[in-house]
């Protein structure tokens, strides 16, 4: 599955201490992408992201193929942030799925791309449990840490992470 990450999901995964593990899903047919605007929105995470790019766990997508007019149309249509808009525009262009932990961005992405191509970080964490990369207990602890550090995430119980 080809996935493009936004800043909210990337920061949440990093704060939950499971970003590395999630990106190791690349060995299970996941390919993770990120746009330059999102990379910039990740602030202090940028150096960490660059290491992941060098390791081949993350692909930075060039934005020179996006026209400002086309980008602005999506921006004005859904009134999201620049990074969220970039995610949706790139997902459309490269046929990617969008991973975002933002409710408004998920709604917009679903409208623009179709329901099946949008999910959040919790789904990726759960996938790690299914692939044997994390225990359900560790996954739930990561979720609780993300919530405690301000993530706008839905309430789920530990059962959600059982696979």
């Amino acid at each position: 599955m080809n996935v493009v990450l936004d800043a909210s999901s990337s920061i949440n995964l990093h704060r939950g201490g499971v970003f590395d593990v999630v990106l190791s899903l690349t060995s299970s047919a996941f390919v993770f992408h990120m746009g330059y605007i999102v990379r910039s929105e990740c602030g202090d995470l940028r150096e960490f992201l660059d290491v992941l790019v060098t390791k081949g766990s993350l692909v930075l997508l060039p934005d020179n193929t996006l026209g400002p007019q086309e980008f602005t149309e999506v921006l004005n249509l859904y009134e999201l942030g620049l990074g969220e808009t970039e995610c949706i525009a790139l997902a459309k262009q490269h046929e990617l799925s969008v991973c975002t932990d933002d409710k408004a961005a998920r709604r917009a992405a679903a409208q623009h791309l179709g329901d099946g191509r949008v999910f959040g970080s919790l789904r990726l964490i759960r996938e790690c449990v299914c692939q044997g990369l994390l225990s359900a207990q560790t996954a739930y602890a990561a979720y609780e840490t993300m919530k405690a550090r301000g993530a706008f995430l839905p309430s789920v119980s530990a059962v959600y992470f059982e696979c």
């Binding site: 330059y36 929105e41 409710k103 706008f152």
Partner: protein, 376 residues
Amino acid sequence: MNTDALRQLLQKRNRAKDDLLSERTGLSRERILQLETSLEPNLNELRVLADFFRVDLRDLLPPDPRHQSVGLLFRSGGKDVDEVTSSALSRRVSYSIELLGEQLVPSAVTWIDKFRREGKTYADAEHNAEVFRTVFLGGDQVSPLYRLPELAVREMGVLLFLVRSNRFEGASAYVESLPFVFLAESFGPRMLFTLAHEIGHLIGHHDPQQSFAVVDTQTEKRTLPSKNATEFYAHAFASCLLMPGSGIGITLRKIREMQKGSDKALGDLEILLLSRIYGVSFYAAARRCEDLNLLPKGGAASLNETLKKEFGSAEKRADAANLPPRADVLFPKMPPALLKAATDKVRAGEISIGKASSILGLSIADLLTANAPRMN
């Protein structure tokens, strides 16, 4: 494309730094010239140029038609207002109004009627500065006013934003009866003076019921009343508010008592001490001393230049003389009401976190942190 904004940026750039521009953006000199004159950029080019010039990418994109009326307001707010500035300010104002929604309380500016609003003389400014201290400081006509940012936000209901810009020092507006002030982040004392200057605009002449905007590129330098009476008034108001005449008198008397001082003319160190006590720059303090006839006309500019030549700056002179350090003046990064409204709306899915981050001028990481549950 907001080609005007990009072209203005490129045309006003320091051409001596073109090598640096090319190196940092990865764009060739030839390509930069093309973008300056005719060709349309792609998103990557806009992004790297926005980074280089430290402007928001949104301000180089086609303007959102919903913000155009506020944009026009800011464009008419001063002769030096460029496209990027008017776009950045109007976006913040429009989004704030949208974000506050039903929380808008147009009658919040109840203090306006307490001020004299017809005159633009120095005496009018001094009168209103005294009224301000009566209304908001219980009549204290002496003390320094480090609390002005907090007072503006909490007591006056001003939506105060700190912005990173070297294109202007301050801006103020009434839009839908809400008072807005924007301060460019810089030397604290200068920001305090700019805030007082913008409050001068808000209380001075404008009717909150009628939208207006002013953008100031230079707030400490006073224009002649014959050239721009409104700016003259706002400068005088800031000066009188931050450095009340009676306070200056008492403080100088104490300084001279401590120094067992004489009746000789006011010296640079005394003015530096005044500037540190009242939280303003040396030039602003010296200028107020001129107005109070404690310095001859032109003395402020002349002393300021002398200190720059001999010590590098007035602040360096003060440090070298071991004057007490300046008190910290805290500026809230954004209106607290907006932060709460933003996190509530992100949680409800009414706006995205990226948009909230853009409205508040806060990083996504900081906005997430602001949403973290408090431990107690």
